[in-house]
């Protein structure tokens, strides 16, 4: 090994981008980072950002940071959409579109990985951080520092996946990198390693978050809040976190084994050496199927809160909703094989997994009907969260029916790997997961910031998303029936597919306009924050505990910890209309800030970069750094800070905005 190979590993100037579009991506990333750093310096905001945000252990601030990272990653994911849609609309016959085949493959691989791991997961953990402690009457999560470390590991993964735009390439093996294509023999560059390590690091963050929120729900509910009195969102998070805790270790193992194959020449999934590729496919879906329920369950929870609040009624069928959640959690472990019916496991095995898959429609149907019953004879307010719900309920039901079609192995043999499948899972994840998170962000925004999101831009965004979605994915269902496979970068004009791809591209651009409307909505709302404040703390006439305190919720959440006697505790409190007495405030302990979380994230990025480029000394630096941060943190026994009772009283009696 030469000295330069020791210092730089596999890194060389050949790792810089190859063509104009790739250079564009790299420059946007570098430029964006530089602009942000320059703005922070210009406004002299480093101290504020460090103290109030980067080192904060307040779950509400961590939640906002999760959502901001996700929004940035969303922009990148949508750029990928634009490139793919233009490519498929124009690359017919003699024309070959704007992308090379390799670049197209990198882009669809990045799109899937980013949207699942860094957009959907980020929004989910962001909203859970914002809302869960408030809803269960807790002042914090169970392990505040672990929460910060989890967030920074998530950010480290996001940083690595963006680094691949600048240095090296990205995986061309799809969002789940099936071997043997993802093995060294067929993907010799750093692309798959970027995929492995950005997901591995973010995944460990998610796993730790799962442990944290599970402990929060089990151990930190307000006095009197038995499980059957928890708000429905807390129940769905409970289910999702149980899935995280059981599913993510499998992802950790799967990624580690693939990395061992690629880095240390092992033979888990290689074509030679006795490896078994189907073991990879089984393992990745043993994580991957529960993962989609990890994303959708909290969205179900959000819709349950939104529908009950804006219908002015209690949620119909609370108990059946709870059973439906746990039925989904259980069944989600028995369906993974439906992702590869065509592997050839035999008729009996396929029949079992097909039936199990179809059965999941039952608890999901229970939930759909309960939401509709909640609306029935309710006094419905058509706010934008409610609009997201109604868009969801129509599209999600259609997408779910498409899923039942796919659950039949016989139909799946025809439809698998086609655009029908792509349309199905986008219906579930866009109109299910994303619409849910959009509703949730709009719904809880005033609680976190103290002012409303602008409703006009919210409604515009909704209609653009809805119409855009139907135009973008309707054609894909049809194309799938016509035999169009997924991941197609070129096709023959005689197939007559082009007009459908053009419609899909129009839909995708409407979706982008919808996203742009949401950005405008955020800017307008911040600009006009004095015009639409939430002065009461209960802007929607809500039912659960998070609406019982002032907005924005103070750092300690509850000045006086609540005692719960009813299911919709805050609703019952308002009905009972007890006379307000001035509460006796006490000193409150909150966690001190800690810079160890962001340092762990930074060292984790170093570890990932070191392994990706085989720079072993960098790996050692990263490992020693992470270990040092953890040990230093455990030696620190002075981790709490007291907010005196007088200060609590001052904050509680302060006027809003």
């Amino acid at each position: 090994m030469t000295l330069s190979h020791f210092i730089f590993g596999n890194l060389s100037f050949a790792a810089l981008p190859e063509n104009a579009i790739a250079w564009g991506g790299a420059l946007v990333v570098v430029g964006g980072v530089l602009v942000v750093l320059a703005l922070i310096t210009f406004f002299n905001a480093w101290g504020w950002i460090w103290r109030d945000w980067l080192t904060s252990l307040d779950p509400k601030r961590i939640g906002i940071m999760y959502i901001l990272v996700s929004v940035v990653m969303f922009v990148r994911g949508l750029f990928d959409v634009g490139l793919m849609r233009v490519q498929q609309a124009t690359s017919v016959g003699d024309a070959h579109g704007i992308l090379t085949a390799t670049h197209f493959q990198e882009i669809f691989s990045a799109h899937g990985s980013i949207m699942i791991f860094f957009v959907a997961m980020g929004f989910m953990f962001g909203i859970v951080n914002l809302v869960l402690p408030l809803q269960i009457g807790a002042r914090d999560v169970a392990f505040p520092f672990l929460n910060s470390a989890s967030f920074w590991l998530f950010s480290a993964g996001a940083a690595l996946i963006n680094l691949s735009l600048i240095v090296g390439d990205f995986s061309t093996a799809g969002w789940l990198s099936y071997p043997p294509l993802s093995e060294l023999a067929y993907s010799p560059t750093s692309g798959v390693d970027y995929w492995i390590w950005s997901l591995q690091i973010a995944g460990i963050g998610s796993l730790l978050s799962g442990v944290n929120f599970l402990a929060t729900i089990v151990k930190m509910r307000a006095r009197g809040m038995s499980y059957m009195k928890m708000p429905m969102f807390a129940w769905t998070v409970f289910g999702a976190m149980v899935l995280v805790v059981f599913a993510f270790p499998v992802l950790t193992v799967t990624l580690a084994l693939l990395s061992l194959d690629r880095t240390l020449g092992m033979h888990f999934f290689t074509a030679a050496g006795g490896g078994n590729m189907m073991m990879y496919v089984n393992l990745i879906w043993a994580w991957g199927h529960p993962e989609v329920y990890i994303l959708i369950l909290p969205a179900f929870g959000i819709f349950s809160e939104v529908v009950a609040t804006f219908s002015g009624k209690k949620l119909a069928g609370y108990v059946s909703m709870v059973y439906a959640i746990w039925a989904i959690v259980f069944l989600s472990w028995l369906v993974w094989l439906h992702h590869f019916f065509t592997m050839g496991a035999g008729a009996d095995v396929n029949a079992f997994f097909g039936i199990m898959t179809a059965v999941i429609a039952i608890p999901t149907g229970v939930k759909i009907f309960n939401w509709l019953f909640t609306m029935y004879r309710g006094r419905i307010r058509f706010t934008s969260p409610m609009l997201w719900f109604m868009g969801f309920v129509v599209l999600f039901t259609l997408g779910g029916v498409a899923g039942v079609v796919l659950s039949e192995p016989v139909a799946d043999y025809q439809l698998h790997n086609s655009l029908f499948l792509v349309a199905h899972f986008h219906t579930m994840i866009v109109s299910g997961v994303l619409f849910g998170y959009f509703a949730g962000i709009t719904y809880w925004f005033p609680k976190v910031t103290g002012f409303h999101l602008d409703e006009r831009w919210g409604i515009r965004a909704f209609w653009l998303w809805l119409v855009g979605f139907i135009l973008a994915f309707g054609p894909l269902y049809i194309l799938g029936f016509m035999g169009a496979t997924r991941r197609l970068d070129h096709y023959d004009p005689s197939l007559g597919w082009q007009w459908l791809f053009i419609v899909a591209a129009v839909g995708a651009f409407l979706i982008m306009l919808g996203f742009l409307s949401q950005i405008i909505q955020l800017v307008v709302s911040i600009r006009d924050r004095k015009l639409n404040p939430d002065t009461t703390g209960d802007p929607w006439y809500g039912r659960t505990l998070e609406w019982s305190m002032r907005s924005p919720a103070p750092e300690y959440n509850f000045a006086v910890l609540p005692e719960v006697t009813e299911r919709d505790e805050f609703w019952e409190m308002k009905k009972a209309a007890l006379p307000r007495t001035a509460p006796a405030y006490e000193d409150i302990e909150v966690p001190r800030n800690s810079g160890a979380g962001i340092l762990i994230g930074a060292f984790a990025t170093v570890i990932g970069f070191g392994i990706i480029w085989h720079i072993w000394w960098l790996l050692v630096v990263g490992l020693v750094g992470v270990a040092a941060c953890i040990i230093m943190r455990t030696f620190d026994e002075d981790t709490e800070r007291v907010i005196p009772a007088a200060e609590v009283a001052r904050i509680e009696n302060m006027k809003t905005i």
């Binding site: 799962g210 944290n212 402990a215 151990k219 270790p249 799967t254 092992m266 033979h267 073991m279 393992l283």
Partner: protein
């Protein structure tokens, strides 16, 4: 010793959280065991399990690791008596036994690799080294934790925080013992008999 209720609540939270973490680790090992079971026959013309495993050596490793669990338990008893000297002595013994276990495992790995049975030879050997090595890595991390905790107990005595960490460390250590029992049975014993 008497504790304030909020301190007890904090402890039960930590124990619950740590137990949940151990369950995630259990799933992690389950995935590795499943991979080992699937790839056990993937020898690709290389050595098979009964040709390379050394049962007496694995038994020696087992005895040493179980002995370290015993001394780890002794440290908890000493902590309950409030004797930080007793805790440090039994933790030191645990550290020596655990360290011996790691050294023995590494020597086993080196012997295999030198005899043409390294992890890159076949899928079977890849899965063997990864499963057993992951356990060894856990033990090594436990040793680092133990050393740090000893420093903390030496410097500060049996504070509330140190007591809690000792309890969690002992959970971790016994958990690794259980995993090893499965490795001994499924990898070594079954690998030699079957």
């Amino acid at each position: 010793m008497t504790y304030k209720p909020e301190e007890l609540a904090a402890d039960s939270k930590s124990v619950f959280g740590f137990f949940t973490y151990l369950m995630t680790d259990l799933v992690l090992f389950a995935a590795l065991f499943a991979t080992y079971a699937v790839l056990h026959s993937g020898v690709f013309g290389g050595p098979e399990s009964e040709q390379i495993f050394n049962a007496p050596f694995a038994l020696l490793e087992t005895v040493i690791l179980l002995a370290s669990s015993f001394s780890c338990g002794m440290s908890l008893l000493a902590a309950r008596r409030g004797s930080s000297r007793g805790v440090l002595t039994s933790l030191a013994l645990t550290f020596i036994l655990g360290g011996t276990f790691v050294v023995l495992e590494l020597s086993e790995f080196a012997r295999l690799a030198a005899n043409g049975a390294g992890p890159g030879v076949s899928a079977f050997l890849s899965s063997y080294f990864t499963l057993v090595g992951t356990h060894g890595l856990h033990v090594a991390i436990g040793l680092v934790w133990m050393a740090a905790l000893c420093v903390s107990i030496y410097a500060r005595g049996l504070t509330r925080g140190n007591m809690r960490k000792l309890a969690l460390l002992s959970l971790f250590w016994h958990f690794l013992d259980i995993i090893w029992i499965f490795i001994f049975t499924i990898v070594y014993l079954a690998g030699i008999i079957l």
